[in-house]
Symmetry: C2
C-alpha cells in the first residue's frame, strides 16, 4: 500500500470519504467494546475452575511442615508455596515471601515502607527533598501511579528493542543519588511485549548506584505467559546476576498468579535477597497476622509443581494466541505500508503497543470511542499520563470474545486511518 504521506491531497480526501462511510457503518452497529485492560476473558477463566475444589471440607489443611493453614502462623508463606514460586522463578525458597492476592500491593507497600522507614537504615524517603524513579516508557500506568502518589519525581527512559536505554539508566543511577529506583517489566513487558536481552539484564546487575538505597523494581508479571510453545523469550535470572556482580541486595522481584489462576484471587510473592526479605518481614510482622494460607495451599494442591503451572499456561495461550494474531494480522493487513503507525509482534504477555503518528494518539482514542470502542486512555503508558509525542496506544486483546475483538480491531484501524489522514492533511495546509 502506498504510504499516506506520499499520497496527494485528492487521494487522501477520497480515502477519507471511503473510510468515513465504513466508520459510520461501524457506529451504526451500536457497539460496546473494550480493549483497555489486560483482563482474561470469561471463557479463559474457566480453565482454572478446578482450583476451587483443590481445598475442600474433606481436605487435610496441614501443609508439609505439619502446621495448620487454617489457623494463625507462617506469616511469610507456607513452605510449598515458597518452593513453587522459587522453582518458577529459578531462585531458592529462602528468597521468597508469599503474600496475599496482589503483587501491586507488595510494590505499593515496598515503596511506602521506603518512604516511611528508608531502606536498610537509609534516610526515609519522606525526609528527603527529592526522590526520583526511572520509568521505562511506554510502561505500566499502575507502576507510575504508585510512585507518583508518594511525590516521587518520575523520569522517562525510552525503551529500545532489547530493554530500556541502558546508557541513560547507567547515567542516572550511577551519578544521581536522588535516583532510588526503576520500574521494570523485564519479560513480555507492558505494553510492548519486549523481553530484556541478556546484555540488558547484565548491565542492570552491574549498575553502580550513587544511592545505596537504590533498588530495581523487577515486576516479572508475565514470566510464564508465553503465546507460543516453540517461540519463547528467555530472561536471565536477575537475583543471581546481581549477586555475581556484587549487588546482592539491589533488586526486588515481584510476581503473582493473577493471570495464572484468577485475577484478584491468586497469590503473589516478593523475591529478593535474604537481607531484603528480612527487612520486609519486619514490616510484615507489624502489618498483618499473615496472608491467606488456605489460598496458598489451594494453589499448590491444584498446580502440584512448576511443571503443572507451565502446562496450565499452555491452556491460557490457546485463548490468547488467536486474539493476538487477530489484532496483529489486521494491523499488518490494514496498516502495513501506510507509514501511519508501528507495532511489535510480541511472543507473550497481555498487550500490543501501537505507535501512531505523533500528535494522533488522543484523537484516535476519542475517535474509537465514537464507535463504541474503549481503548486505554492515550498517555496512560507514560508517567503523569503525559506522552510527549502523543503517539502511544496500548491494546489489550484478551478480554473480548474473538468476534468482538475482530470488530474492535476493525474500528481501531479505521480510527487510526481517519485521524492520520486528518493529521497529514492538516500538515499540508
Amino acid at each position: 500500500m502506498k504510504p499516506y504521506c506520499e499520497r496527494t491531497k485528492e487521494e487522501l480526501l477520497q480515502e477519507r470519504q471511503n473510510l468515513e462511510a465504513k466508520f459510520e457503518d461501524a457506529k451504526g452497529k451500536g457497539l460496546k467494546l473494550d480493549i483497555s485492560r489486560g483482563k482474561p476473558s470469561a471463557a479463559q477463566l474457566e480453565i482454572s475452575r478446578g482450583l476451587l475444589d483443590a481445598v475442600n471440607s474433606e481436605s487435610d489443611l496441614k501443609c508439609e511442615n505439619g502446621l495448620d493453614c487454617s489457623n494463625y502462623g507462617m506469616m511469610d508463606g507456607i513452605p510449598e508455596a515458597k518452593k513453587l514460586f522459587a522453582d518458577l522463578l529459578e531462585v531458592s525458597p529462602e528468597n521468597v515471601i508469599v503474600y496475599g492476592n496482589s503483587s501491586l500491593n507488595i510494590m505499593y507497600d515496598t515503596v511506602s515502607r521506603s518512604y516511611t522507614h528508608g531502606v536498610m537504615g537509609s534516610t526515609p524517603w519522606c525526609k528527603l527533598d527529592r526522590v526520583k524513579f526511572l520509568c521505562p516508557v511506554p510502561g505500566y500506568d499502575r507502576h507510575f501511579a504508585v510512585t507518583e502518589r508518594f511525590g516521587i519525581e518520575l523520569i522517562n527512559i525510552p525503551m529500545k528493542s532489547d530493554g530500556p536505554d541502558m546508557d541513560l539508566v547507567e547515567e542516572y543511577v550511577n551519578q544521581d543519588p536522588a535516583v532510588k529506583g526503576i520500574w521494570c517489566v523485564p519479560k513480555y513487558e507492558n505494553p510492548m511485549g519486549i523481553t530484556y536481552s541478556e546484555e540488558t539484564v547484565k548491565r542492570f546487575a552491574a549498575l553502580k548506584p550513587a544511592a545505596r538505597d537504590f533498588r530495581i523494581f523487577w515486576d516479572n508479571a508475565y514470566a510464564l505467559h508465553h503465546l507460543y510453545e516453540d517461540q519463547q523469550d528467555a530472561l536471565p535470572e536477575i537475583l543471581s546476576e546481581c549477586e555475581k556482580a556484587g549487588n546482592p541486595d539491589m533488586v526486588y522481584e515481584f510476581c503473582s498468579t493473577s493471570k495464572i489462576s484468577f485475577p484478584g484471587a491468586g497469590v503473589a510473592a516478593l523475591i529478593s535477597s535474604r537481607a531484603n526479605l528480612e527487612e520486609a518481614r519486619k514490616q510484615l510482622a507489624i502489618q498483618t497476622i499473615g496472608h491467606d494460607k488456605l489460598n496458598q495451599l489451594r494453589h499448590v494442591r491444584y498446580f502440584k509443581d512448576a511443571d503443572g503451572v507451565r502446562e496450565h499456561m499452555k491452556q491460557h495461550a490457546l485463548f490468547l494466541r488467536p486474539k493476538f494474531e487477530t489484532v496483529l494480522d489486521t494491523l499488518e493487513k490494514e496498516l502495513g505500508g501506510l507509514k501511519i503507525g508501528s507495532w511489535i509482534r510480541p511472543r507473550g504477555g497481555y498487550f500490543i503497543s501501537f505507535d501512531a503518528l505523533p500528535g494522533c494518539a488522543k484523537a484516535i482514542v476519542a475517535k474509537a470511542k465514537e464507535a463504541g470502542l474503549v481503548l486505554t486512555g492515550a498517555g496512560a503508558t507514560y508517567p503523569y499520563k503525559k506522552d510527549p509525542q502523543d503517539s502511544n496506544i496500548r491494546i489489550a486483546p484478551s478480554f473480548p470474545t474473538p468476534e468482538e475483538l475482530a470488530l474492535a480491531t476493525e474500528v481501531f484501524v479505521l480510527s487510526v486511518k481517519l485521524v492520520s489522514i486528518d493529521k497529514i492533511l492538516g500538515n499540508m495546509e
Copy 2:
C-alpha cells in the same frame, strides 16, 4: 482462704514448701503448653470447614450485581459482602469497604496513609514533630506496635470497668492537637473482656478534638464473640452516635471474620463515613487491583446472612465457654481470697486478664515457663511492652485442648502463688 499478706512468715514458708513440691511435680511432666495467643483450637476450626465447599468448580462465580468475582474489578468489595458486614455491624452498606484477610492490615494501612498523606487534607503525620496516640491499658499489643513503628508517642489511658478513663481521654483529645488517635477494642476487649458502656460510647462520640485529623480507631474485633447466649454485652453503634454528635467522620471501625471463619483466611472490613471511605478508596485504587472477591463470595454463600453468622458463633461458644470457665473457676478456687491477684469474668472475646501483685508479672511468666507453660510476655499489654506496675498478664484459653488447659491453669496458679509468696517474704525483710 486467708490472704497471703496476713499470714506469718512461717505460714508462708510452709505454704511455699507445699507449692514447690507440686510445682516440681508439674515440671516433671515435661509439659509443653501455650496460652499466649488468641488462636482458636484445631477442633474449633472444624466447625467452619463447610466454608471451603461454598464456592467450588460448579459454582456461579457472579455476585448479585452480575459481575464476575473471578476477574478484576469491584475494588472495594462485592455488594453482598458489604451488606453482610453492614447488617452485622448495624450500619449501611455504603459505610463498608471489604478488604482482604486481615483487619490489622487495614489498621496499619490507615495509620501509614495518615503518616504519608495526612487525613482529608491535613498535614501528613510524617511532617509533624509530634504525633500522639492514646492507648487504653491493658490493651492489644499489635495495636500499640503499629503506631510505635511510625514513631508515634503512645500514652497510657487506664481502663475502668466500663471502658477507658473518659475524663483523661477528653482532656487529651480536646486539648492537645498532637493527639491524632486512640486505639479502642470496644467490645469484649483484649485482654479484659470489658465492653464499653453506653455512656462511654456517647462520650467518645461527643469528643471535641483539638486536631481535626483526630480519629477513633474502633477495632470491633469481638463484636459477635459471645460466650453465653443469655448474657450478652450490648454496644451502641458508634458511627450513628458520632453522626448524632456532629462528628460524622471521627471514627474508623475495623472488623474481620478471622475468628468467625478461619484465622488468616477470613475477610476484613473498614466501616466508616462516606467521606472517610472515599479517602480510603483513593489509596486503594493505587495500592491494589482489589481484594480476593472469591473469598468474599465464599463467605457470603456459606453464612447466607447475618443470622447465619450469629448461629455459627454459637458453635464457637460451645468450644470457648468451658475453657473460660475452667480458667476462671480454677482462679476462683485456688486464688480466691488470697489477695494476690484480681481478674474479671468476661462474657465474650478471647482473653482473661490477670492482675498480679505489683512487680510480679514478669516473674510469674518466667516461673510458668520453667514448667513448660508459655504465657503472653509480661508487659505485652502495654505500649513499649512496659507495664509500669509489672502486674498484668493476659491469658488466652482458646487454643489448648480442655485437658491441656486444666494443666496450664494449674501451673499458672502455682506460679502466681510461688512468686507472690516470694514477693511478700521479700517485703518482710
